[in-house]
């Protein structure tokens, strides 16, 4: 059986020392081993940005696509071969700005993949511009007087879009993050895991210390029930979205692949590409 070391390759990430993304990479590798995967059974599809490079740093199949489109590519992979475990990964700009349309629709479509967002509230690779997760007043190169646009409440948005698995974590908490990714991979449907992954170079506000001071673990809230969508919404609003843990999970709703009529139970990659002469003639006769 593979261990987390089998999911390591010999490429040295080009992230800045101290970047939160290192822990996310480690958590994916551990989670993959913990759920019993072999490296060739995993596909990591990533977007563009610092975090998008993650698909190249894991010893598995990896697809580094175009900016904002990790989710449709990942859904295509899963639709083609449902036996593969598919993780999509990217940053907050990738998923919540340029790719937001896909994020909402991947959530409501509920294809069985896991989406991990490395949320650092800033654009890193383009050297420090505001992101849809930056708070009002946040000063960046593109908002020198401070951002006037409010940050998106991503977790609330996911709940209203019909998410069946919503979790949030902090890159410093490798244990919790690994466990949430494992649960996401096991979840039958789309799982969204937003990870606060500090940018040590460009974000001097939302630092490791800032998160330590401001995050509330859901495990510390007495009676918190992740199957209760209303409670999830109220808790998020009360804590301005700054909570960690499994926020919401709906185990009842089936995944897209299990709902769509006629869709093969075997991977489509194994489907016969030819059609029989008899079937062809039937199809042709319909036009006569």
């Amino acid at each position: 059986m593979a261990t987390f070391k089998d999911f390591r390759n010999n490429i040295k990430p080009n992230w800045c020392p101290g970047c939160g993304d290192f822990s996310v990479q480690a958590a994916i590798q551990r989670a993959a081993a913990n759920v019993g995967l072999e490296p060739h059974e995993l596909v990591v599809v990533s977007g563009i940005g610092c975090s998008g490079r993650i698909s190249g740093y894991i010893n598995s199949y990896g697809f580094h696509g175009v900016h904002g489109r990790a989710l449709p590519i990942a859904q295509g992979v899963k639709m083609a071969n449902r036996d593969l475990t598919v993780i999509a990964a990217g940053g907050d700009g990738d998923g919540f700005a340029i790719g937001m349309g896909h994020t909402i629709h991947a959530i409501r479509r509920n294809i069985d993949i896991t989406y991990i967002v490395m949320d650092n509230q800033i654009y890193g690779l383009t050297k420090g511009q505001t992101s849809p997760r930056s708070e009002v007043g946040f000063k960046t190169k593109s908002t020198p007087q401070g951002s006037v646009e409010p940050a998106l409440s991503i977790m609330e948005m996911a709940l209203t879009a019909g998410a069946t698995f919503v979790a949030q974590s902090f890159s410093s908490d490798l244990k919790e993050l690994t466990q949430l990714i494992e649960e996401g991979m096991k979840h039958k449907g789309f799982s969204l895991i937003n990870v606060f992954s500090p940018c040590v170079t460009y974000n001097k506000v939302n630092t490791y210390d800032w998160f330590k001071d401001n995050l509330t673990s859901l495990s510390s809230i007495e009676g918190y029930d992740p199957s209760n969508r209303e409670m999830a919404m109220q808790t998020l609003m009360k804590h301005k979205g700054l909570v960690t843990g499994l926020i919401y999970q709906n185990k009842e709703r089936k995944s897209y692949q299990d709902l769509v009529p006629g869709y093969s139970e075997k991977p489509l990659t194994e489907a016969d590409l030819t059609i029989s002469k008899e079937k062809f003639e039937q199809l042709v006769a319909e036009f006569m």
Partner: protein, 578 residues
Amino acid sequence: MISQLSWKVGGQQGEGIESTGEIFSIALNRLGYYLYGYRHFSSRIKGGHTNNKIRVSTTQVRSIADDLDILVAFDQETIDFNFHELRQGGIVIADAKFNPTIPDESRATLYAVPFTDIATELGTALMKNMVAVGASSAVLGLDISVYEGVVQEIFGRKGEQVVAKNMEAIRAGAQFMREQLGDNIQLMQLDKADGKKRMFMIGNDAIALGALAGGARFMAAYPITPASEIMEYLIKKLPQFGGTVIQTEDEIAACTMAIGANYAGVRTLTASAGPGLSLMMEAIGLAGITETPIVIVDTQRGGPSTGLPTKQEQSDLMAMIYGTHGEIPKVVMAPSTVQEAFYDMVEAFNIAEEYQCPVIVLTDLQLSLGKQTVEPLEYDKIEIRRGKLVTGELPEIPDKGCFKRYEVTEDGVSPRVLPGMKNGIHHVTGVEHDETGRPSEVAANRIAQMDKRLRKLKHIQFPTPVHKHVKHEEADLLIVGFNSTRGAIEEAMERLERDGIKVNHAHVRLIHPFPTEEMLPLVQSAKKVVVVENNATGQLANILKMNVGHAEKVFNVLKYDGNPFLPHEVYTKCKELF
């Protein structure tokens, strides 16, 4: 007795004009006539003038007719809008209910038939289109019993009474018309057709069927005119083969989802029109640099922007060849008939996998939506080729090395493994990369990988890159076109030949890489070259000049008013050159 005629039905959109044409043409198809239809419609659901023009012949026809023999009108607007098309001696069959009139400069005869009143008397005014079908059939001298099967298929599930009533409406329409025509009944009686069963379908049907036969098992698409029929057919059929269609949130998702599925090993297509293709351009570049096969159908319509969304145009050519930033290998195919659209789709998937690159199948609105008779499609011609797809077990790679998915090879094509295969792990990225897919900015590697990719199409094998109709070693005129202009050009060519002009015809079916070797001798052996295309800037002419030269003898025949070329337009424009 005549061997062909042109019939048109018109009225307000949403009033059953479509079904009138549909039932009439299905009956004609069953009788063995060759048909070619073209719909005039607007980007709205109810209201607005719509019409359906159908050419009926005892031999193959590939163009709408210059003029009109019979106009069936459900309102006065239809007469006013289409009257000019009627030939001397043509007839208008109009619903008596609106007190139809024809203009004073009449070249045609008006027959007012109480479509609505006859239908109402038989039970419901809704059957007025059946009365019109019956009246039309009487003019052509059709055996009404052919409708028994057609009506049964369409209304059978509504019960025997509905079937019987509709048949009654057809018979009543025919009877009334016969009485009206009196001695004139002989004027437009059609020769008997051969009664052979043939397919009757739109280009989009053939594209979808071709995709299915070509092994496509998944499609991701976003609705758009005039491409939607492709996804609508496949969502009905793919589940029978375990596959499905996902209607995505936009065309960017459609294209990237299709890339994901192709990367994972399932033949997947997407289809759209100009606005959708514009959105897909970045993704097409991704498929190019990651060497992922993908088939994309572009059903051209009037552009730019929303342009003329329900009208004919061929103005996406340059965008399809050069669209996406940077430089990638790409194939652009252009079928010119419904049959070709079927076979080209099968071939598109083979080429995409063999050369591991995006393949764009270009059609236009006239080809995609025009319904026409199709000679039998041959099952034995369907062939599946998957190129350098690796199957079976792979040797272990030591030290966590990666499979050389982008190995530099002589023909530029590298072995392709699919995710899930043991010992096949490699990286895929839109960033320039080395042989294992790892990002690399090294200059020598960049050149090696760029050359390798572009080398793939140097020796592309394509069955018929140019459809040639060459009668003369030395021609006065070479007419060049692509997609649906073929029929109009062929008919114009016949007329020019009758005038003593020696004409050759080349219809370009592989637009990119351009078949220079095939085209050069044809251009060289012609005194003049005319490129016929539905756009305003002469895109194909420019591509021809760029690849073949001889700019001094290349002339444009352009039409960009939203309507297809008529044979006489091509004839007249060519004739002006002599």
